[in-house]
Subunit: 158 residues, 2 copies
DNA sequence: GGCGCCGGCTAACAGTGTTATCCGACGAGT
DNA sequence: ACTCGTCGGATAACACTGTTAGCCGGCGCC
């Protein structure tokens, strides 16, 4: 808190005039990042580009991604829709969309934690996962009807 | 550190006679938990029971699981083998084994973080994921040859 | 009998999030 | 024009964190 305040040219306790505590501040930052992520994912048209976009966005902002997925930062239920939405639009099945999200999230987690060695093996794991999902029964883009409007997260940063 | 020391009937600084710092202590605890996890997973004979065992073990020890997967706790490279080994024994393909591990890990992460609502939807996502992996090309148990001996983690807790 | 190591202890430090309290600026209302 | 409340700064201080420095008793070994 002190170092953030310093960066703002402010004293640390003044931050508490804007956020109740550190957790609320983190939740606001995480929500903003989630909105970014949702916007970036919305452009994907295939499972592979979607997975690639998810991965590259997370690796480009590892600290924000950690913040977003930290258990101690509660987000709203609506936020799940932001993350799952793009996956649903492509795999066309809610349960499989969640599974796909979990796969992508798990891959990123393991990569960021250094649990999977970098190199071609990582790409092979991504390819194996996306291939399995693509070949899955119930897979395919949402067939008809208007897609739900993208969800916009209103974050509390002023 | 103070509260752990109190539980041991000891003063906090005395802990530093056994571990260099908090991170090293956490790594030792995480390694012990990883060994537990590996032992529990080793008994699984199908993809579904393996996934169920992974999930239930993680949910039974959420704090230890968090510790294990925390980026700030470095484990040895060998540790990946403990986690991936049981998956490899069942899906029979290293890349797919890693992807399966990532899927299971991601599901657990999302569940622990409350990012997926509890209820039947969670089970549906698990089912969708395991079905996709099972139906994947290259799937199947390791066909022949002796299986590698299970890896034993030696953790530094004395 | 001395020596060294092991594992406990106390005191203390720097850094953390956070609270209580104060105070000047500013806009609205009478 | 004066007052008054709110907003957003400031300072001082608190409890708690991981961690270090240094002291010391007991035990095994040459």
């Amino acid at each position: 808190m002190r170092s953030l305040a310093r960066e703002l040219g402010i004293q640390a306790p003044s931050l508490y005039k804007h956020f109740r505590d550190k957790q609320e501040l983190e939740a606001a930052v995480a929500a903003a990042f989630l909105a970014d992520l949702g916007a970036e994912l919305a452009g994907a048209r295939s499972l592979e580009t979607l997975a690639g976009a998810y991965r590259s966005h997370a690796l480009r902002h590892p600290h924000l991604y950690r913040l977003l997925t930290d258990r101690s930062v509660p987000l709203l239920e609506r936020d799940e829709a932001v993350a799952v939405g793009p996956f649903l639009a492509i795999v066309g099945n809610l349960a499989l969309a969640r599974a796909t999200w979990a796969f992508a999230h798990g891959m990123v987690e393991l990569e960021l934690a250094g649990r999977l060695e970098p190199g071609g093996e990582l790409e092979a794991a991504w390819a194996a996962g996306t291939a399995a999902i693509r070949a899955s029964p119930g897979q395919g883009p949402v067939p008809a009807g208007p897609r739900p409007a993208p969800v916009v997260v209103r974050h509390g940063i002023d």
